[in-house]
Symmetry: none
DNA sequence: GATGAATGAGAATTCATTCAT
DNA sequence: TATGAATGAATTCTCATTCAT
């Protein structure tokens, strides 16, 4: 400690002002990025745009992220990080195929309805260009789903069908239906989840017959 | 007149040398763009990259397209233009729900397996960023699907469920499953179509119960 | 008819269609240029703009002019060519200092009021940039004025003062006052001429005293 | 206070190193632009040319000006800003028509003879194209002259004649005569001023009679 | 760590001009 | 001669990134 202070403030708080500011800055950048991406779309957004939406200086950006890509990743990872555990928890808790499927969709659509901005940042775009970045975190989420599917099959919860195709189908339905849902006047995650759930509950059995 | 025909095509094709060159150039640019997008991804591709993949001069690009975005659109529109009629034909010909669903997916996956490059250009990514542009042509394709769904419901082929969600689900499954399919050693459109078809055939009935 | 094709048209009119067309094209270009320059200003105008205002093809332009500069020159020269003889005639006919000065200004302001477009093409501009090109023809006009001034001095019509300064002063007053005149609701060349004339009639005598 | 003065300027000048550099850069660009415009003429000058005449990077230019037009404006505004107060002071101090007129022209021609480069930048031409930009500052200068003319009329110093025409005449004579003056071996602002002054002193009376 | 100006590579785009038809 | 697409040099301008303060 004496080494560190050397003429500086005598009291070095463990979670000092420094750390607080750093976190605040990082958060500010992420927040700004989220809204700018949502507005301009990923492609059209520049680092400058993000900084401008902040009261930080341009150089400061680079203390936190290497590029706009990295912020985008961070946003998605953060998002994924927020939903993934919930999704996994639902599926692990699942005692039936109904639980498995409906738990997954309910959680997903609820989250989307909540964190509108992030979803828009990830899917929306200028010039009608949609962007999705498959960050490690997101891919991990997909893998997790696949793993859980496989486990459920082994446990006899799900019939033995093509796990990759099933995972892809669930992902595809989740994202596309979410978009439709969010375009409606009053997004109804429950209805969306019900639709998707029934579709898969009915469908998976049919596929099984193959 | 007799002089004019002289052993050439009896009906004057629009084939001055000028016109031929123009068409060839346009095609060359589209071809180049398709492959560059597929390789670098939309985001990372620059107009220069596209031109470079061509033996045309930089300025020539702008005689045909205003920006990389416009070429991208053209590629997608062309693609959509190629598949849409086939999809529609399948669905119109459909006399049963099986025809409707399986016709749609068979056609789609067959097409994807065939026109690999376009599909990659549309879906592939640099830096793991996936891009999809909703061009008028593509949106029209989705609308068409929705219309056909509604018609099929009226005709009693399909049960009365949320048409938007159904459309979105089919689109989502189609694109995501196609991607998985194309990642495999030997893409098997038939298997993919079968999976998707059974999923929906079984699922739609279940949704209906709501 | 068969005869016609063989070589060229059998009847070679002395002032044939060719010559007529050529003149028409040249005129069309000049006309278009005048109006485009007046609208966009010299700097912002491109050759393409001029052609576009024509129903000719871009290549055709170069059969008549080498560059936009050359058209600009042509316009000014044409203008100068139209006024110069009148100005000179006035001054030659002058039997008194009054005739000399007033004849010059009357002719000039009358012309400006008449050929508004050319004047604007020469003086007006986008972005408030005024342009004046001193073409040979224009310079010749100034020189002529100087010569006539010198002659008039020798003839005792004008007092012996600095001819260059006098020429410059007349030119400066002519152009600036013309601009003010043209900005007014109803341009009154007579009033402008009277003002300038009196200014110089009174002023020249005063300068003489030096 | 005594502490602060310490031999340096007593009033803290805005002199961080950053500020110094910024000012220096701005000045460097203006300086370079002035000389490039004077050499190549406004039309032929490109932003690159200006940058090249500087040891700054291309991007730096755009930290200070948006376009060559803006630099040009800045040059003229600066010039106007330098002369205008002097001109105005002369005219305000004027107790007679002689003071008014001669003060104006003396000051103007003296300035032109001094700041040769700026004047050339403003008037000189490539391809014999002369450019003049009516910046707000310049227009303000003209307006000021007109105002002072009107005031002088009200004060009885000047006869009641067309103030716009008089202003325009003075401006026209000033610029054109200045050009002639600067073309001569040894520019003689005094002679030029005398010529213009006498011209107007004599002339204004004559116009008045109308 | 924050700041924000400088940097300069490189992208987009224009446009005068040529030349095959 | 007219046409109008191709050409590609040249220009403008942006923007990620660095670095002195």
């Amino acid at each position: 400690m004496s080494v560190e202070t050397k003429g500086e403030s005598p009291i070095a708080a463990p979670c000092g002002k420094r750390e607080q500011t750093k976190l605040a800055n990082r958060t500010a950048i992420l927040e700004a990025a989220r809204s700018v991406f949502a507005e301009l779309g990923y492609g059209a957004t520049t680092v400058r745009d993000i900084i401008r939406a902040t009261d930080l200086a341009s150089g400061t950006f680079y203390n936190y992220f290497k590029s706009k890509e990295e912020v985008f990743q961070a946003i998605q990872d953060e998002t994924a990080l927020r939903v993934r555990p919930r999704l996994r928890a639902e599926r692990i808790r699942a005692r039936s195929i109904e639980d498995f499927i409906s738990g997954t969709f309910r959680t997903f659509f609820d989250y989307v309805a909540t964190d509108h901005d992030s979803f828009r940042a990830i899917r929306r775009n200028t010039d009608s260009i949609r962007v999705r970045m498959d960050t490690p975190e997101i891919i991990a989420g997909f893998d997790e789903l696949r793993e859980d599917i496989v486990k459920a099959m082994k446990a006899g919860l799900l019939p033995h069908i093509d796990a990759d195709f099933l995972m892809a189908s669930m992902v595809g339905v989740a994202f596309e239906v979410a978009e439709i849902m969010m375009k409606r006047e009053t997004p109804d995650p429950k209805a969306a989840a019900e639709f998707a759930t029934r579709l898969f509950l009915g469908g998976i059995g049919a596929v099984k017959k193959v």
